[in-house]
């Protein structure tokens, strides 16, 4: 039996009717038409479905929609705008950290969750944060460089006094 649930997605409140077996990913893509979040392996091994829930990068393919009520959800559509991209998005373009682009929303959301929590991550921190995402074309070095650069740029924009 379908149940009505209320989701907080990208600052909007959305009411949707879901079955218990619908995942958050199903609802985001099929009902809310937020198709920026991709669906690939469906079993938590690729990370393309990553969204940020209450500040943490989680896999929307392994989260029941019904259990996503009352949580603050951010998808790739919630980052930046067409005129002003999120620093992570901009950095991915500048560093060529995108090729086919399918994994990109998941990688960017994973990186965003990291930078929100840890604005100056070490190489190891970045690698850990991206450990659950797979890119099959660009590879992982450029994404790591892009995230590091985004962190530096963000720190610069924040008005640090060390002249960066």
């Amino acid at each position: 039996m379908k149940r009505m649930i209320t989701l907080q997605v990208n600052g909007d409140t959305c009411e949707v009717a879901v079955e218990p077996w619908h995942t958050l990913l199903d609802v985001l893509r099929d009902q809310l038409r937020l198709t920026g979040t991709k669906k690939s392996c469906g079993i938590g091994t690729c990370g393309v479905c990553t969204v940020i829930m209450d500040g943490l990068a989680i896999l929307s393919c392994l989260k029941l929609a019904i259990e996503s009520q009352g949580h603050d959800i951010t998808t790739i559509e919630g980052l930046g705008s067409a005129d002003e991209l999120d620093p992570v998005q901009q950095s991915f373009i500048e560093h060529g950290a995108i090729q086919c682009g399918f994994c990109t929303p998941g990688v960017i959301m994973s990186a965003r969750a990291l930078l929100d929590k840890n604005p100056q991550p070490s190489d190891e921190d970045v690698r850990e944060a991206l450990s659950g995402t797979f890119c099959r074309c660009t590879g992982h070095i450029k994404t790591i460089e892009a995230v590091k650069h985004a962190a530096e740029k963000q720190a610069g924009a924040g008005g640090t006094s060390d002249g960066q």
Binding site: P20, W21, T23, L130
Partner: protein, 336 residues
């Protein structure tokens, strides 16, 4: 892959969850982080009629210290929050290492300590798509009576790949299990069973609510090492958890536990005895590692060959002992 259909019950208290479990007549599963159960359901390995959501039960989500100094980990605490827990970092860093060895950052943000401790056993012939499995006779784990891993075997040889399990056994942890009548406590070493089908002591109407880790004395040192083909997001080919008390060069209360090579974490008692006798000298460690190779019993050739597993065990014992020795050196240095 889509999930099969099921009924969903949201439990707000442990009592509600236990009532739903009992009403479910064995066709019910507890859903915590979902990173093991939902994957298995997508593969149609598990087909529960009802799923009980326990994410909003507060009492399962706390980390507290008991009056005797023991550490009480609620079964519903996520792995990533435990990884950052200062109590764990200080009192049993080995457990912290085991926790961060699980899956990826994303998996740890969702998965819980209770879920990882109760991780379903896995087998090359079982964790496959329905189409793949349909091409073979139904195996013991799927309810049949053959074992494809060891032809003619009387039991299921699926492997317990949990990273935290060997460490919990090494720490003499106690698993607190609840049912509607009350609670019972089972030592981690007895919680795990050498049977791929009934791989732990939980009955269908029971749930794991808490894991208690004894305080241990001030000389206790812990270490954990995992070997897998990738550093992130992979099940172990073998892992090892060890705890030892070192005082004036003597080792006591030695626990060395190898995981991910059998249906339960293997406690290496003979190896531990060698360490208690020989200590952490080069020769002693070498001898302990050789002993480990001989005390593993029958191994199957799932995921990696039996011979390779013996070699892994030998190497892991040596490495973990070196790490324990190193941590004592660091401590001396820090004390100066």
């Amino acid at each position: 892959m889509r999930l099969p259909r099921f009924e969903y019950v949201k439990a707000s208290t442990t009592g509600e969850a236990l009532a739903a479990l009992q009403a479910g007549d064995g066709q019910t599963r507890i859903l915590a982080g979902g990173t093991d159960l939902l994957v298995n359901m997508k593969y149609r390995i598990e087909r529960p009629a009802t799923v009980i959501g326990i994410r909003t039960i507060d009492e399962l989500c706390s980390v507290t210290t008991g009056s005797d100094g023991s550490l009480h980990l609620g079964a519903g605490v996520t792995l990533s929050s435990l990884a950052e827990n200062s109590l764990i970092k200080e009192s049993c860093p080995g457990l912290g290492r085991a926790i961060t060895a699980v899956g990826s950052k994303h998996i740890r943000n969702m998965g819980t300590i209770g879920g990882n401790a109760c991780l379903n056993t896995r087998c090359w012939y079982y964790n496959q798509s329905q189409l793949w499995r349909d091409a073979r006779e139904v195996c013991r784990k799927a309810g049949g009576n053959v074992c494809h891993a060891i032809n003619g075997s009387e039991r299921c040889h699926a492997i317990n790949s949990s990273d935290t399990a060997p460490m919990l056994v090494a720490l003499d942890a106690e698993m607190v299990i609840q049912n509607r009548e009350g609670e019972r406590r089972v030592l981690a070493r007895e919680f795990y069973r050498n049977d791929g089908v009934r791989y732990n002591a939980l009955e269908p109407e029971e749930m794991l609510s808490r894991i208690e880790i004894p305080r241990g004395n001030t000389e206790r040192r812990t270490a954990f090492i995992k070997i897998c083909s990738r550093r992130g997001l992979d099940f172990a080919m073998a892992n090892i958890g060890a705890a030892v008390s070192v005082k004036a060069g003597r080792c006591s209360q030695v626990r060395i536990v190898i995981g991910a090579i059998a249906s339960h974490p293997l406690i290496l008692e003979k190896t531990a005895a060698v360490v208690e006798e020989g200590g952490l000298s080069e020769g002693g460690m070498e001898q302990a590692a050789d002993t480990a190779r001989t005390e593993l019993g029958t191994l199957t050739n799932l995921f990696s060959s039996a011979g390779y597993k013996r070699q892994l065990a030998q190497v892991l014992v040596k490495r973990v002992l070196q790490e324990l020795k190193g941590s004592s050196r660091n401590k001396r240095r820090a004390g100066k």
